[in-house]
Amino acid sequence: MTRSAKLTTGLVLAGLIVLFGLIGPLLTGDPATIRDIGLIPPGGDHLLGTTITGQDVLAQLTHATRGSLWIGLLVGVMATVLSGVFGIVGAYAGGVVDEVFSLFSNVMLVIPGLPLVIVVAGFVPADQRGTWTISLVLAITGWAAAARVLRAQTLSLRNRDYVAAARVSGEKTWRVICVEILPNLLPILASQFVFAVVLAILSEAGLSFLGLGAADSSTLGTMLYYAQNGFALQREAWWWFVPPGLIIALFGGALALINFSIDEIINPALRDKARRRGDVVATTPVVESGDAVLTVHDLNVVYQGASPVHAVKDVSLTLRRGEILGLAGESGCGKTTLAYAINRLHRPPAEVTSGSVVFDGIDVLALDPEELRRFRWVRLSMVFQGAMNSLNPVTPIRAQLQDVLRTHRPSMSSSDREDRCAEVLRLVGVDPARLGSYPHELSGGMRQRVMIAMALLLEPQVMIMDEPTTALDVLVQREILNEIKRLRDELRFAVVFITHDLPLLLELSDRIAVMRDGEVVEYATAEEIYLRPQHPYTRRLLASFPSLTGERGALL
């Protein structure tokens, strides 16, 4: 079922039941009227039959639905307010307040809800056990889980810069919470409210069924209680207990459907997947060229959708053995899409609509999944942006490096594996003694070196590096750039280096392709680009980086 179908079904069902509870009592007469026609089956004057004392089941049902909904609403509001106060205020205030509030929520969370409700409800004398008392008891036992969720979310929101900005501009605390934080919590509050309503209606039905419910109101639970006491089951009077049970089940289901959709709206990961076609729709005949290890010819990549985005347009590039090719461009220019497409790592809705990618005689776009698996990492490896954060935090470096070898070189002996892992770490300037370290024990620069080591493990001919140093500071960046140059000279692999930092590419690469809006606007040697840039965009990009040593004030 799609999101909208779920939401519609949920809303229609819940709406019908609410209408039934609101309008029904006005049409069905007094549910308490006792007649001398006990337990007649549905039909005639009594559409849903009568109870053992001759009361009209339909009339009882409408009143009971209204009673249950009212309790659900009361509890929903109270539990949401309680969870909001304890979750949001505690998290925003921090310090001792947060400690005390979360200790309290945690204690409430481990107290088993229903038994506590039974004890509390049983403790209050039956004649004082009104709707409000029961609702209060249910709210008090039902808010803690929601408070935990809200606290976690608020903790993340309170550190957002826009909250800091509101504080700097002098906003009062209550306004920061109500105006800046609360709106961003609305989806969660809504879903917690709906959940609290369902839980309240179910718990109240349970309580009433046990005879511990509100004395002054009739709910679906009290109906079931009387049906049980009147031996409805034994007398096969199904019309007495099936309808209230059905309404509870349908309303619970309807709200669950609504809640599910709220979840999907918030969580992008649950949104509908794009329609799946192949990742490669069409290719053009392969063009080979002599010294090239990687040739991209007239490649086009399109993000299919309501308005398709042509992310890579007719791109042709040649990477020679041992060459460093710089791919320069700003966000959204298609450079990362291009890199992914070369490796066939692009995911739907991205599609290669035409062109060819030839790697050392292999037509990459024609590989089947198994061939692709053997090709990737072995022949061509990749270092992603922020790769240093993609190491698994709970396993040591050794295990993560060895995994690669185990997958791609199953025949390798364990001592050879160990040797190879130590060797690549030495190559990137990390002490092999660190093999036993966990990622958090290494600095950002070291983790990035480990990622490069991992990309080197299988001696690939080409390495694609997507902004490998952007998250690092200049000193660490300098060390890693020197390392890449040295490794390239020693091992003679070729590199595609992607970054927005043109001066870095000018210093590092042999040739540079400048990309904008999916097109390569200029493709030449670093020296040509630096000394004789042809395209206006290249010149603009060059001018965007003031030289440290250039004339001062020239920019102003």
């Binding site: 501009s169 500071d473 200049v474 000193l475 980086f545 030289s547």
Partner: protein
């Protein structure tokens, strides 16, 4: 004349000295750059000046335009901050109008000044109705600058104001800040890891390393003829194609 004096500022987080004895003065019409690598403590200094973080020790004193010290409750009328990430510093739920009107109202001004504020940062008045997701990174940062100007602040702390922006629009935003600084006689603290823009856009440079200021002085002196070994390493590490193609440069 408005001036902000920072004396012997220290901040300790869980026994780690993030900022250790930093002193400097911001005066109207001058830009001071605070440069350093990530983790050097420069953002913590910014957050202490913006009163988002309480200093462990040290003083921050603000002198108003009339030469007398500014009382605490009026501090935020005079000192404002521009955050690094314009994608995070605007609330996705609110319009540009809200972001500008709130600081105006909080500091005794009128909502009617919103179009004028937008104009000062070179945005047309119809931006007021838009929400952050409808703006580009550069436009967002202009809104953030307008928000900092809204209370009539004369001291602006700009914490890496362009490092999250696309390279081709960075200089435009820096030039805007520079123009505002000169036109409105602002005192600006420009925090950055980029030595080149620090040199071009500031009068004085302070280099921070592990919480301390290791070198300070007029920007050309510090960045072209660095004395401290750390500053030298920093200056040498920045990519510089000049050296590869044997062109100019002082090295």
């Amino acid at each position: 004349m408005t001036a902000l004096e920072v004396r012997d500022l220290c901040k300790t987080f869980h026994r780690h000295r993030a900022v250790d004895g930093v002193s400097f003065t911001l005066t109207a019409g001058r830009t001071v750059a605070l440069v350093g690598a990530s983790g050097s403590g420069k953002s913590t200094v910014a957050r202490m000046i913006a009163r988002l973080v309480r200093p462990t020790s040290g003083e921050i004193t603000l002198t108003g335009p009339d030469g007398s010290p500014v009382p605490d409750r009026a501090y935020r009328d005079h000192v404002q901050m521009i955050f690094q990430d314009p994608f995070a510093s605007l609330n996705p739920f609110h319009t540009v109008e809200h972001h500008l009107a709130r600081p105006l109202l909080l500091h005794g001004r009128s909502r009617a000044e919103v179009p004028h504020l937008l104009e000062r940062v070179s945005l047309s008045p119809d931006f007021a109705r838009r929400r952050p997701h409808e703006l580009s990174g550069g436009q967002r940062q202009r809104v953030a600058i307008a928000r900092a100007l809204a209370p009539g602040a004369k001291v602006i702390v700009a914490d890496e104001p362009v490092s999250m922006l696309d390279v081709s629009i960075r200089l435009g935003v820096l030039k805007l800040l520079d123009r505002l600084q000169r036109e409105e006689d602002l005192a600006v603290l420009y925090i950055t890891h980029d030595l080149a823009t620090a040199r071009h856009f500031s009068d004085e440079v302070l280099v921070m390393h592990q919480g301390r200021v290791v070198e300070r002085g007029p920007s050309d002196d510090v960045l072209l003829r660095p004395q401290d070994p750390y500053t030298r390493r920093l200056a040498a590490a920045a990519p510089n194609p000049d050296t590869r193609f044997h062109l100019g440069g002082s090295s």
